[in-house]
């Protein structure tokens, strides 16, 4: 073991610094979002019970416990994360299976476990545990010499938790697992998969936005052009070209089926709102409309700390959790928003940097998993507040109010730092 002094030197303090900064800025905004101009501000006279009515106070407790958690995570032998990855994964799967049966329904989903005064969402912790497990698995195979069994196993590892989470009606949390693709890509997954997924997504979106006949016409003309020009490269792949064309046409028609039969009512509405934001501003569109109003009214420099009216007067729902970015946008304006985005970029850059300097595949894969998960949350959460992504109930890492989310992101990040701190000793693997 290292001495504490040496150990402390090997911790990546840059990441820690960015982390602390984000948690602090996040807390400021939670305070602003839960601050009420009517309520007494002499918090020192209040009892603990009374203080527990304030989200900002509870957030202090979450941050405090998160610090304890960090100490524990760093003290635990780094090898344990590797060693116990599968065991944790198995335990988590069991927990995810059990949760819907023992949890009380909260906001339409049975995904919250109650331990005394604390409510925890197992799905939050599924993220880092799955990340550990797939990293462990990845370390054991060589993806450059892919074989089908390994790929299937990886797919099962990745898809099992989200399926269980969807069963508990937390679709948003399940989508996060899609982020692992970025990590797999770094480790050697064919870029075609990313490309195809992106193309598929684009076609789906186009199918919703543009009349179907136009799309079919466009792709048919494209196919005909390919055939007529008799391109050398594509002529060899004539069956492939026609196959792609058929798949595309199938997708265009499949959108309707997917939209009407697979998606649930509220999910369909959320996508419809994305396409046409003014369709139902008082109903389904309320969240997005109000969120955009709050952010948009911030201007260049914002209304100032605690001066936001839209968030303060409850126009934006879920303002301290999923819609915390509204408070940032309204009170700190475009500059504040860009600083926040820059903080995330700094963190992601640093994580990628840390991941790349790992000598083990396990550490590197895990690092990329961390970056991907945080990036996905960042992209979808902020995207939904400004009307670029459907409203999906996932928090903004380190900003949103809530113990589960803060703890899970802290764990996610600091396991990486723990692994990183010992990277020089990890020569054997």
């Amino acid at each position: 073991m290292k001495t504490p002094a040496r150990y402390s030197r090997s911790i990546d303090w840059v990441t820690v610094g960015i982390y602390l900064l984000m948690v602090f800025v996040g807390w400021l905004n939670v305070y602003a979002a839960s601050y009420s101009p009517d309520a007494p501000t002499h918090v020192f006279g209040l009892s603990f019970g009374e203080l527990m009515n304030f989200n900002w106070f509870k957030q202090i407790l979450w941050i405090g416990t998160a610090v304890l958690l960090i100490v524990v995570l760093l003290v635990v032998d780094y090898k344990a994360y590797d060693t116990f990855a599968y065991a944790l994964y198995a335990g988590m799967i069991v927990l995810l299976i059990v949760t819907p049966f023992i949890a009380r329904p909260i906001a339409g989903s049975r995904s919250w476990l109650e331990l005394g005064p604390v409510r925890l969402q197992p799905a939050e912790f599924a993220k880092f545990i799955t990340a550990l497990a797939v990293s462990r698995y990845m370390a054991g195979i060589n993806l450059r010499h892919q074989n089908f069994r390994d790929q299937l196993m990886l797919a099962v590892f990745t898809l099992l938790p989200p399926l269980l989470i969807i069963a508990a009606n937390e679709t948003g949390q399940a989508l996060v697992f899609g982020a692992f693709l970025l990590a797999y890509f770094r480790e050697g997954m064919s870029p075609l998969i990313l490309l195809l997924l992106a193309a598929g997504g684009a076609i789906l979106i186009l199918a919703l936005l543009v009349p179907k006949l136009w799309l079919i016409g466009f792709f048919t003309v494209l196919l005909v052009l390919v055939l007529v020009f008799n391109n050398r490269l594509l002529r060899h792949h004539l069956p492939l070209s026609i196959g792609v064309w058929l798949v595309v046409i199938g997708m265009v028609f499949g959108v309707d089926f997917f939209f009407n039969s697979v998606l649930q009512e509220h999910q369909r509405k959320r996508i419809e709102i994305l396409i046409n934001p003014s369709a139902d501003p008082l109903g389904v569109g309320w969240n997005v409309t109000q969120s955009k109003i709050a952010i948009g009214s911030g201007g260049v420099v914002g209304k100032g700390f605690l001066q936001g009216t839209q968030t303060k007067f409850d126009f934006v729902p879920e303002q301290s959790t999923d819609f915390i970015f509204c408070t940032v946008g309204e009170e700190w304006g475009w500059l504040g928003s860009v600083v926040t985005i820059a903080l995330f970029m700094a963190l992601l850059w640093r994580i990628v940097y840390v991941a790349e300097r790992q000598k083990s595949v396990f550490g590197r894969t895990y690092g990329y998993c961390v970056a991907s998960i945080i990036f996905f949350h960042f992209a979808v959460n902020i995207g939904m507040t400004i009307g670029l992504a459907p409203v999906v109930g996932i928090p903004l890492p380190f900003f949103s109010y809530g113990g589960s989310s803060l703890w899970s992101f802290t764990t996610l990040l600091f396991i990486l730092l723990a692994i990183d701190a010992y990277r020089k000793q990890d020569l054997v693997r």
Partner: protein
């Protein structure tokens, strides 16, 4: 070109497949991160910096504009008696979201409200807003409020809001006072009413409408911030943009409400008008339109129904006769013709004309009209036929057609200086112009050079095409009383403390010199003297000298209208009056005594000739009264 495109495509594909050096894929991942960050920063720049609509939407969300409606100005008569005041009425408001388990039967019993009305009202309220209050029942009186207020606590979601409505200190003068009502839906969009909200009240007619701006005062506006449930969260920016309301200005009218009431009493059961003016100032003392109605009918609960009731009344009480009914002036107009003739030099006071019945029929048997006084006293038609003939046919042209045209044009110019043929500009809306015909008018009827004085001679005795309003008629008397000038008749002698409007302080001179007026007054005095056409109207017994002129106006609507116009005292005129009684026959026997009673009442403050009041046809209780 084709080659080039192919190469580019191949290159892109190659780049992707070339990502076999996995270390390089780091840059792809970072590029994806950066692309999303740039996208967000750009999108945020658009909605936060470039697009201003979100800021407006935010203000719409949180800012509630509360309009403070100030106290509407009061209306007083010339002796400081309060004619129109404000009284609180109460609206029952409902907030649909807060209504819980409504016991409709009990609620309807309490409010005396049909259950269908309640249902319809609640539905409309829900449609408007579930969280904002909408009026369910308006204009509850204090008494009605008392009966429901205590029970209202059992009905969550309902509350009472006080508002000011008009109340009247008199049952008279409804026409001039006008009324206040909710702004008609068709007015709301007009530029003029831009400041009004659809639920606002404003003056619809009469003085309430003419002086709307002064009476209304200035509305105060307060900006309050509200949260998503409409609950107030304090002043916006510390009240920086709030304005205080300023109470409306009071109107001090020149009306003598006792005289007004007396006039309405005398006119009860008749159709017609009485207009009295203080000639020295132009202030209107009395403004009677018969039949009349109680101004209180057009205020408070059920205004709409009662308005329709008045509108459909066959007696047409809503018509403001002094302003909008136009009559031929009859013999009173002879005075104007005589004055114009003297001024133009066609005649003098001592000119005599034979009572030649071949020119026009004379209604009276009388002595030879050797001067103007005798002619006025006897209202000799042939005399005034010849007076006007002398005025019009001046021999300016050899052609008698052209001579008539030139003469009539000059006559019209002179007559118009008496405030005839055009709106006087009284402070009420809807005034009629009357008609002083021009040569062109007759050209149209008869053709150019197809008419002469003989065609239009009935103008000389105030018949035919000439038309005046009662107000213009009273104004003629004011002009004679002033010996040649007038102030535009008006009701309001002072808006607040500011005096009358500037246009009412301007003296209008006629084209006739003042000494000519002196020459016709003796004849007018003889009218009410012994043997005159209106000897019944004499106030000699009280030592009051009066000068007047009767008229009997032929018309298409049945029996002749009786008219009488006068002023008194002759030496120091304090009142000029004109009376029209429709279809009442000879002016000397009905209109003149009525005018005389009015003058007595005004100058002496009381009436001793009580028996005359009863003698006047019609009984005192045919007012159109508010039905209880």
């Amino acid at each position: 070109m084709r080659r080039c495109l192919t190469q580019v495509a191949c290159r892109i594909i190659q780049i992707f497949f070339a990502l076999q050096y996995l270390e390089g894929r780091k840059y792809v991942v970072q590029a994806i991160f950066l692309a999303v960050a740039m996208l967000f920063a750009g999108r945020l720049f658009y909605i936060q910096v470039l697009d201003g609509s979100y800021k407006l939407a935010a203000d719409r969300n949180t800012l509630q504009r509360i309009v403070k409606v100030p106290y509407r100005g009061l209306v007083y008569d010339r002796n400081g008696k309060l004619l129109v005041q404000n009284t609180p009425v109460y609206d029952l408001l409902v907030v649909p979201r807060e209504v819980k388990q409504l016991d409709t039967v009990r609620f309807c019993q309490l409010l005396q409200l049909p259950i269908e009305d309640l249902r319809a009202g609640l539905l409309a309220a829900k449609k408007y807003s579930r969280v904002k209050a909408s009026p369910l029942v308006q204009n509850l009186s204090t008494a009605e409020l008392a009966s429901i207020q205590d029970n209202l606590i059992d009905f969550p979601g309902f509350r009472i809001e006080a508002r000011m409505a008009r109340a009247y200190g008199t049952q008279s003068m409804a026409h001039a006072l006008g009324y206040v009502g909710p702004i008609p839906a068709t007015w709301v969009d007009r530029e003029k009413y831009a400041k009004y909200r659809p639920t606002d009240f404003l003056g619809i007619s009469g003085l309430e409408s003419f002086y709307e701006k002064e009476l209304m005062g200035r509305r105060g506006v307060q900006y309050r911030m509200v949260n998503v449930r409409g609950i107030e969260k304090g002043a916006f920016r510390g009240g920086e943009f709030d304005t205080l309301s300023v109470a409306g200005q009071d109107l001090h009218t020149g009306i003598d409400i006792d005289l007004q009431q007396y006039g309405e009493m005398l006119m009860a059961g008749k159709r017609g008008t009485v207009v009295a003016i203080d000639p020295k100032t132009g202030e209107i003392l009395a403004f009677v339109s018969a039949p009349a109605y109680d101004p209180a009918m057009l205020t408070g609960k059920g205004l709409g129904n009662r308005y329709m009731e008045l509108l459909n009344n066959p007696e047409r009480p809503l018509i403001d006769r002094p302003l909008t009914a136009i009559y031929s002036p009859g013999s009173v107009f002879k005075l104007v013709n005589e004055l114009v003739a003297m001024q133009s030099g066609a005649v003098t006071a001592n000119t005599g004309f034979p009572c030649n019945q071949r020119l026009v029929r004379c209604t009276h048997n009388h002595e030879y009209p050797g001067n103007v006084s005798i002619a006025i006293k006897n209202s000799c038609n042939p005399y005034f036929y010849q007076v006007m003939q002398a005025t019009v046919m001046r021999g300016r042209s050899r052609n008698r057609f052209e001579d008539s045209r030139l003469g009539l044009a000059e006559w019209k110019r002179n007559v118009q200086t008496f405030g005839l043929g055009d709106k006087l500009g009284v402070d009420l809306l809807g005034e009629k112009k009357g008609l002083i015909p021009s040569p062109e008018y007759y050209d149209k009827s008869y053709g150019y050079h197809r008419w002469t004085y003989k065609t239009v001679y009935s103008l000389s005795i105030g018949q035919g095409e000439v038309q005046v309003t009662s107000l213009q008629m009273a104004n003629i008397m004011a002009i004679i009383a002033n010996r040649g000038y007038y102030y535009t008749p008006h009701f309001v002698r002072s808006v607040g403390q500011n005096g009358p409007l500037p246009q009412f302080q301007e003296r209008h001179k006629t084209s006739v010199d003042s000494h000519y007026f002196e020459q016709i007054i003796p004849g007018m005095q003889m009218v009410v003297g012994r043997g005159g056409t209106a000897s019944l109207a004499s106030l000699e017994q009280f030592g009051i000298s009066m000068a007047g002129k009767t008229g009997t106006v032929q018309n298409r609507h049945g029996a002749d209208h009786a008219t009488f116009a006068a002023f008194a005292p002759v030496e120091d005129p304090k009142i000029a009056i004109a009376v029209f009684i429709e279809n009442a026959g000879f002016g000397g026997s009905s209109a003149a005594p009525l005018a005389s009673l009015m003058v007595e009442r005004y100058l002496r403050g009381k009436v001793v000739r009580k028996k005359w009041e009863e003698w006047l046809p019609g009984s005192a209780d045919r007012f159109v009264k508010r039905h209880h």
